[in-house]
Each structure stands twice: as structure tokens, then as C-alpha cells.
């Protein structure tokens, strides 16, 4: 069941992205057309105010609406997949890279949908959905078999909370990243068809405001777990350190937003850097080993 839901979720996420892409492309097209026929009704969606979200009429609008509906569907399928998985394996679905990747994608989808509902900016989906889709596609490339937990992971409560909290942080950082990318690709003053830069700046900030406390909690819970399982609350394990780097970058971002000369693109670049650090933290254990490596543990 988990498998079927996963595949359905994967397809739905892909389809949602396709809808957004079509919607966005038609907005751009309408804009270009409107340059040539400024008085014509063809200006339609483009003249609605520019943003994809506001393109509520015409074909591009309906594609965007379908996109959102299908994205909700994708989130539903992935949720179902995670629930079935939890029932099947008997612990939070966060114990190996497959489970964690699906959960990551879930976090991105849910956080995107939350911000989409709140700010009505579907353009975010153009960046956030590929992140979710990439995670799901990545999940298809790694073995999905559920192995019994190695002793260090046999802590159901902390495994579930520590990783669930991390998923929320990662999801919000993906949204912040999406908004930062849309911010950075625009010239000063904004570009039609994309959300206003100030709005994107606000969305990024709001996303980090949720994500930062969750990342802080992830690290603290990680330290609590490490103190129980590894005999030390902090041991400069590469994944630990990478999460610290991520935390510091988002901490820097929160300060940068109020420092002259760092506002706007400066802090947007920090968000891109922060997302890079997030991915590095996430994938890190694949190439730097350490205590977080989930395979080939020879001691614990």
C-alpha cells in the first residue's frame, strides 16, 4: 500500500509541476503577446497584475488551479504512503534514506501548500515542487526495503520526534529557498509574471521564522539522543556539524535582514546558501560517514 501511494504521490507531484509550468509559460506568452497587442483582450492573464496566482481567468489560470489541486493530491498520497509505511515497519518512517527522502518530499509539499494558501503565490511551486519531485525520484533509486533498526536507532520516541521536527525545518527552508530564487532572478523592481520581490522577501522570512525554531529543536533533540546513545551530547560528528553550519547560516540570515547592505539580495543569497547547507546536512552521511551513517555500522 505504501508503495502504491508513493507512486501515486510521485506522479501527482510531477503532474502538479507540469500544470504550474504550463500555467506559468502561458502567462509569459500572454505577456509577450500583450506587448504586441496592448489594447487587445489577449493581454488577459498577463495584465491581471502579473503574478501567476492572480491569473485566475483563462486557460493559464485553470492550469494553475489544477496544479494546486494535484499538489494537494500528491501531498495526500505521500501522507498515506508514510502512514502505511509506519504501520508496516512499526516506527516513524524516518529510519533509512528511502523513508527519510519520502518524508523530506512530504515536508516540502506540505510547507509549500501551507504558504501557497497563505500568500496565494503559486509561482513558489515552480521551485518548491521540483525539490519535492527530486526527493521522490531520488527515493525511487534507493532500496526501499525496511531493515531491522540497528541498536543506536532503537529509540522510537526520539527517532520519531527528532526526524519529524527536522522534516518541518527542511520543508520550510525549501519554501524559503524557492522564494529566494524567485527573488534573485528578478531585476530590481520586479518582473511581471512573478510575485513582487517584497512579498517574496516576506515569504522567505516567514518560512525561516518557522523553520529556525524547528531546526534548533532538531539539534537540541539530537543532542539529547546523542547523550543517551553515544555517550556525549555533542561529538562533532559530520552530520551534527553540518546541521550546526545550517543553523548558523539561517541565524546569520535572521540578523542580515536588519543589517544595512545585507537586506534584499544579500539575505536572499544566504537563503540559497542555507538551502545548500540543508541538502549537505541531509545527504552528508552518504559521503562523510560518521555516527549518522545508517549502513555499515560496525560498532554500535
Amino acid at each position: 500500500m505504501s508503495e502504491y501511494s508513493f507512486i501515486a504521490g510521485l506522479l501527482a507531484a510531477g503532474l502538479a509541476l507540469l500544470c504550474y509550468a504550463i500555467a506559468f509559460a502561458s502567462v509569459r506568452l500572454a505577456q509577450r503577446r500583450s506587448v504586441f497587442t496592448p489594447a487587445g483582450a489577449g493581454a488577459g492573464a498577463g495584465a491581471e497584475g502579473g503574478s501567476l496566482a492572480m491569473a485566475s481567468r483563462g486557460s493559464s489560470g485553470s492550469f494553475a488551479v489544477y496544479g494546486t489541486l494535484i499538489a494537494w493530491l500528491a501531498a495526500g498520497f505521500i501522507t498515506a504512503s508514510l502512514i502505511f509505511r509506519t504501520i508496516a515497519v512499526g516506527h516513524g518512517p524516518f529510519a533509512n534514506m528511502y523513508e527519510f527522502s519520502v518524508a523530506f518530499a512530504w515536508g516540502v509539499l506540505v510547507m509549500y501548500l501551507y504558504f501557497e494558501r497563505r500568500y496565494h503565490q503559486r509561482a513558489l511551486g515552480l521551485v518548491a515542487l521540483p525539490v519535492a519531485l527530486a526527493m521522490l525520484l531520488y527515493a525511487t533509486t534507493i532500496p526501499s526495503t525496511s531493515e531491522p533498526l540497528v541498536p543506536a536507532l532503537q529509540n522510537n520516541l526520539l527517532l520519531t520526534i527528532h526526524v519529524a521536527v527536522a522534516i518541518v525545518a527542511y520543508g520550510t527552508f525549501s519554501v524559503a529557498f524557492a522564494a529566494a530564487v524567485l527573488f534573485l532572478i528578478q531585476p530590481e523592481g520586479g518582473r511581471r509574471g512573478l510575485p513582487r520581490p517584497e512579498l517574496l522577501d516576506e515569504i522567505s522570512y516567514k518560512a525561516v521564522v518557522i523553520g529556525f525554531p524547528f531546526l534548533t529543536l532538531t539539534i537540541v533533540l539530537g543532542a539529547v539522543w546523542a547523550d543517551v546513545a553515544w555517550g556525549s551530547y555533542w561529538s562533532w560528528d559530520p552530520k551534527e556539524t553540518a546541521s550546526l553550519v545550517t543553523w548558523l547560516i539561517y541565524g546569520a540570515y535572521l540578523h542580515a535582514r536588519v543589517v544595512r547592505g545585507w537586506r534584499g539580495s544579500g539575505s536572499a543569497w544566504l537563503l540559497v546558501l542555507g538551502f545548500g547547507a540543508t541538502l549537505f546536512t541531509y545527504f552528508g552521511n552518504l559521503f562523510f560517514g560518521g555516527l549518522h551513517s545508517y549502513a555499515g555500522l560496525n560498532q554500535q
Binding site: 531493515e147 531491522p148 533498526l149 540497528v150 541498536p151 543506536a152 532503537q154 529509540n155 522577501d201 516576506e202 522570512y205 516567514k206 521564522v209 518557522i210 529556525f212 525554531p213 534548533t216 529543536l217 537540541v220 543532542a223 539529547v224 547523550d227 543517551v228 546513545a229 553515544w230 555517550g231 556525549s232 551530547y233 555533542w234 562533532w236 559530520p238 556539524t241 553540518a242 550546526l244 553550519v245 548558523l248 547560516i249 541565524g251 546569520a252 540578523h255 542580515a256 535582514r257 536588519v258 543589517v259 545585507w262 547547507a277 549537505f280 552528508g284 562523510f288 555500522l297 560498532q299 554500535q300
Partner: protein
Amino acid sequence: MSQIAPTLTSEPVDDLEGGLAISPAFLLERVWHFFISMRTGLVLILVLAALSLVGTMLVQASPGLKSDPQAYAAWVESVRPKYGGWTGVFNSLGFFSIFDSIWFKGTVTLLITSVVACSINRAPLLWKQATHPRLSMADTFFEHAPLHATLSGPSDADAALAEVDGAFRSHGFRTVVEQEGDDIHLYADRFRWAPFGTVIAHLSLVLVLVGVILGTALGFRNTDFAAPIGAKVDVGNGTGLTLQATSFTDSYSTDNGAPSDYASDLVLYKDGQQVAAQTIRVNQPLRYGDVSFYQSFFGPAAVMQVKDASGKVLFDEGVPLLWGSNDGKERVGQFTLPDQGLTIFVVEPQSGEVSPTIKAGQAQVEVYKSGSETATDIKILDQGKAATVGGLSVTFARERQFTGLIVARDPGVPFVWGGALALVLGVCLVFFFSNRRAWARIRRGDDGTTSVRIGAVIRHDVAFETDFRQFIDGLKLALDGRSAS
């Protein structure tokens, strides 16, 4: 950020004299302004992030390694193939033990100084804002505030006030009203204590650092504490504790052979009295007072029996074979006979490996005078048969397991948890409860209406703008309703 204001003793005649007249107070003030600058903090955070990144990208030498120059040099050589010509550069920059380096510690020190300075700088201001806020604002404020609106109200100023006051209260604001002549001033705020979250979050980092320093200075951490099953092993480090592991079991999954459980039965003694007994697992350490015992590793031990010429038993315990030989074919353990001044090494073939000299089921025993580099006697023993080695009767009795523990005492831990808790609470307080402040002024106009001016500042709280507009729209409706009635 406030401007740096030089405090000169007298008006400088020219630039040169001005430069010379730098007083200690001026210098202090400059240093102070350096540390309370948000920009300083930002740069320090980014430097710390960059240094930490180095720590994840480059292999780090294990913490104890630096104290043994020879072992450290050998370790550096072992990573040379990986980093080539950069090895020397990285090493001299301290990049192989970055978290112990002057760069890292220096940056942390500067950052914590900045954190403390900023908190000292901000706290009184926040306190004043929360307890004695400015109640009235001038016209210029209502004209230039980032969020502002002018509404017209009913002729009855008190009725207008009631509407404004009620509107703020229904949005969760606290209000303070002040009468000044014909003007009514209203100050409204929400979550006025939330800004202290930043102070709490920042100072929590100091608490964590205090915990780390305390732990390093007063604690100990033995990561290779090996307890052969049955043997009583002193914990040392001034704890007065003795540990006996009565059993060790390692279980493996039947599906894929991956480890599924490690468990040791431990009994803890203090001054000969049993004080604790527990089965420990990887996620279930034994805690006694502030000393903790964690399941960490395990391995084989050789039970050795040593008697002197008179037949008196000098040693009868398991010797953990903790180390591997350089070629990886043998494993080595060691024990001492302090009264005899002897150190005895036990060497066995590694399981699955063929040693050139020692057969399976045999152990090689090497006797050294403590401190000497050359063995006084070396013999290969068959299991169960006594032999004379260095004048002593030595028996390799049997194989046993040992359980490997981490034993640690860290008096800094409560500070670290206190800091962590404060950090999470502080961060949540700031971000989930945004402090909002607004001012209103109600003034009777000549035309029989009252003018209601409202202004608010935005501090890192962009959603306020939307809420403010909605608030004004709602209030406008209410005031219009009053005027009409």
C-alpha cells in the same frame, strides 16, 4: 546602529591632534560599538559557519591524538594521500582539529562577547518598552510611521476612544490611555514580553558555553573502557567506583545479519558495596550520580592466569585484546603486574586471519619490565597449558568477551540542557509571538467630528502590514457606524 561618537577632551585643533587625543574611554567606546554592532555579529556567525564547514569537509583527528606527537604525525601521514600537497598547509593552519584551533575558539569567544554586549545593550531598552512605553506621539510620527492611517470618528471623543480601544483589545492588544488637554492618546501593544526572547536566546548560548567549559575542565570521558566479563575493573578518575560486567550478549538480525542488540549486565560497586545493577543497551545507559556508562563496543578477551614461583596467583582475569597489530593479522592486549614492575602483552591471531607465527587457539605472551622497550621473554602458549615466561607461570586459560563502554562524567551537562531549553523557548517566544506596538491619537475637530490618527512601526514583522490594513478597515467601519448613529 548608533554612531560612534568620539569623546575628546578638548576640541581638536587639527586632524592630527584629534587623532592623538584618543582617550581610553574613546577606545573602550569603539570596542563596545564594535561588539554591539549587528554587522560584527553577522560576520562572526558566517566565519564560524565557514570554520565548521571545514570541520565537516576535512577528516578530523580524534581529540586525544594531539597529545601524542608521534601518533599525531603518523595520523597526518595517513591522510597525506588524500590531501596531497595541502596536507602540510591544513595541518599548520590547525584544520585537522579545527574545533580545537585558535581560529574556532577565538571566533566563539568574540561571538559570545558580542552576544553578551548586545544583550546588555538591548535589555534595558526592552525593559523600558515593556514597562514604561512612550504613550503619546507627535504629528510627525503619525505622518511618517511605516504604517499609518487617519480616520474620522463621531463627535463624541469618548465614543471614538471606546471604539479604538475596543478594536485594539479585540485584536489581543493591551491598551494604555492618556489624556493630554483635548487630545486622547492611546498606546497599544501585544506580547510585550516577547522581545525578551532574543535576550533569552542569545544568553542561552552563554549558558551552553559555560556547560561545555565546565565539562571539559571538570569532567572526564573514557571512550575505551573495556570490562572483561566477570572481572572487576576500577573506574578511576576519582569516582571510587568499581565496575563488573557479568554478561554481554550481541544479537544479530536473522534477515541480514545486521546487529540488532548489544546488552551488558553491569554491577557497580563503591567501596566494596554494590550500589547499582542494570542491563545497559545502546540507548539505555547506566547512570550513577553524575557518572554514566554507555554500551559502545565489544571484543575478545584472553583470560590469563599468572603465578609466581611459590604458586601464588598474581593475576587471574580477562585481558581485553583492544588493539590490532599494524598488519591487521593479530590482536593485542596488555596488563600490568605493578608489584613485580612488569607489563605483559598478549597477542592472538585476529579471527579469520592467519598469523605467520601464532596458530589459532594459541596466544603469544611478551613480558616487559615496565618502561623498557625490549621484552625480557617471549613465548607462544597453547590454550590451557601453563608455561614459564620470564620466571612466572603463565596460563592462557580461555577466550572470553569483553564489553566496551564509554564512561563519562560531565558536570557541565545541566548547564548545556538549561541553555538548550532557554534557546528553544527564547527562539519560539520571538518568532511565534511577535511583539506589536501601535499608537492612536483622538482629537476633536472644528467640524464636529473627531480625527483618529493611528500609527505603528514594523519591526521584522512583515505580516503586521496586512493585519494593520484589515484592522484599519474594520475600525473605519465601526467609527463610521458610530458617526452615523
